[in-house]
């Protein structure tokens, strides 16, 4: 048993399956297709169980908070209130019975999603519009040449991407001057920098994949052996 507890075998599996996955991209033979289909179907099924894990990690945090009664633990109760209500609604399912199809119309379960989840989540990031306005005035400063270039580009893009720039441009007889300036920034410097970043990040990703395959990086397996 202790052999199975060690990392040796999992790391061998990582290497073996990784090598097959790597090779599959270069082999046109039907065997490679069958392999891909088998593996991806397998991950689709496993993905369902992985979602249970995700749910656990969400609840775990709040359970711990309530148990330890840390600061603001009372609010964590509302997490379980929300979850409880949704689960009850889902099981009751407008009287049709748990987990069965309701063919037409909205159920109370949909109602909970539409009128609690959607407005809360949609609003929370829109608050940032206000904070951005405030930060625009208070803290976004051209602290040095670099930051100055950043702000100038930002101002051009912010102006060039809204219809008012064409209206203003029309006053001067060149409606698309700001749009063109924005297009230049996006397709010139922005494209170049983003391409540089993509190339750099991809090399990093390759190196990371290699470290995983060779067992140099093994933190995802958890435990210290």
């Amino acid at each position: 048993m202790s052999f199975f507890k060690r990392l040796t075998l999992p790391l061998l599996i990582v290497f073996g399956i990784g090598l097959l996955g790597f090779a599959q991209e270069f082999v046109p033979h039907p065997i490679a297709h069958d392999f891909t289909e088998a593996m991806t179907t397998c991950f689709k099924i496993m993905g369902g169980f992985a979602m249970i894990l995700g749910i656990y990690s969400l609840t775990h945090l709040h359970v711990t908070r309530i148990r330890q009664q840390g600061p603001g633990w009372g609010y964590s109760m509302f997490v379980f209130l929300g979850a409880g209500v949704m689960i009850v609604l889902g099981v009751w399912n407008d009287g049709v019975g748990p987990l069965r199809e309701v063919s037409e119309g909205k159920t109370y379960f949909d109602w909970g999603y539409d009128y609690i989840y959607v407005p809360c989540q949609a609003t929370i990031f829109s608050i940032l519009a206000f904070f951005m306005a405030s930060a625009a005035f208070r803290t976004f400063r051209a602290r040095n040449v670099a930051a100055a270039m950043l702000l100038i580009a930002a101002v051009v893009v912010m102006f060039g991407r809204v219809p008012v720039s064409e209206t203003v441009g029309r006053w001067f007889g060149t409606p698309d001057v700001f749009t063109n300036a924005t297009d230049f920034l996006m397709n010139g410097p922005n494209l170049a920098a983003k391409r540089g970043i993509i190339l750099g990040v991809s090399l990093g990703g390759l190196a990371q994949s290699l470290r995983i395959l060779l067992g140099i990086e093994r933190s995802y397996l958890g435990g210290q052996d």
């Binding site: 209130l81 407005p119 920098a193």
Partner: protein, 284 residues
């Protein structure tokens, strides 16, 4: 100095409570008026719950939650925290019911084993699906401190495959394709265009500008790569060139900045549209 947060530890004052109560009453009155009072053809107003009472109440709740969320602008407060945690909970409940069961476990496990249309289909499921199901169940052992090691085998499969396939795919899409697009001869920018007279306006627009843009992208890409190059000290020419890289990065961050602002403002507009059109029922 007043930021929204620096009062967060103060107790709610009685003035604040009074204002809150007034606001709540105003909100309810406005909601009821907007949702349930309808004008008929003769210009008379009358009260009706409408065809969709559930929907109207939902809109009122949604509008209330939206406004509570915005109270964070004033300061971090209990109502905001309740709403924030409530929505996390609702998301959780939603995931438990619909997603995990309806979109994952039912189609992949229940339908195939317990609801198999024929005996042959069941046999097939047993042959080809029992291993993935067992591996999936093993994933869950990660929650246990004692048996967590079992889940390693499932993770080894997922992560190993992802890393293996990822190498050629990343090379193909993000390195070779990007590189190939980036090394076109400068003349490619003007292929298929007629050449107007030198230094005329159309020449600048159709020939000089596209070629300049292509050259700029080449220089920029190399300079940015050089900025992220750590194996030599950036001195003299190197320093200048990495400064060029910074400038390209900064302009691109500026573009991202402008777009991010645009995105957040759009979200605000989305909420305002909801409040105006659905809560207050202002005609579009």
């Amino acid at each position: 100095m007043t930021t929204p947060q620096n009062k967060s530890n103060k107790k709610t004052s009685s003035v604040e409570m009074a204002v809150l109560a007034i606001l709540a009453v105003v909100f309810l009155v406005v909601s009821l008026l907007a949702q349930f009072i309808v004008k008929d053809a003769d210009g008379h107003y009358y009260f009706t719950t409408g065809a969709d009472l559930r929907g109207s109440l939902g809109v009122i709740l949604a509008a209330g939650l939206t406004l509570v969320m915005y109270s964070f602008l004033y300061r971090d407060n209990a109502l905001f925290k309740i709403a924030e945690n409530l929505y996390v909970g609702v998301a959780l409940g939603y995931m438990v019911i619909t997603i995990t069961w309806r979109e994952a476990l039912r189609p992949e496990v229940y339908d195939k084993f317990f609801n198999a249309p024929t005996w042959g289909a069941f046999r097939e499921a047993l042959l080809y699906r029992s291993v993935p199901v067992i591996l999936g169940v093993l994933l869950i052992t990660r929650l246990s401190r004692k048996h967590g090691w079992i889940s390693r085998y499932s993770y080894a499969l997922i992560i190993g495959y992802g890393a293996g396939v990822g190498i050629p795919l990343t090379t193909h899409s993000f390195i070779l394709k990007q590189l190939y697009a980036g090394v076109a001869p400068l003349q490619d920018a003007i292929v298929g265009k007629t050449s107007p007279a030198l230094f005329s306006w159309p020449w600048f627009a159709d020939v000089a500008y596209p070629v300049f843009l292509t050259a700029l992208v080449v220089v920029g890409t190399v300079a940015v790569l050089f900025y992220f190059f750590y194996s030599i000290e950036h001195k003299r020419t190197g320093r200048t060139f990495s400064q060029v890289g910074i400038f390209f990065l900064m302009v691109s961050f500026g573009a991202s900045f402008g777009y991010t602002v645009m995105g957040r403002v759009s979200l605000l507009i989305g909420r305002v549209q909801f409040l105006l059109y659905e809560w207050l029922k202002i005609p579009k």
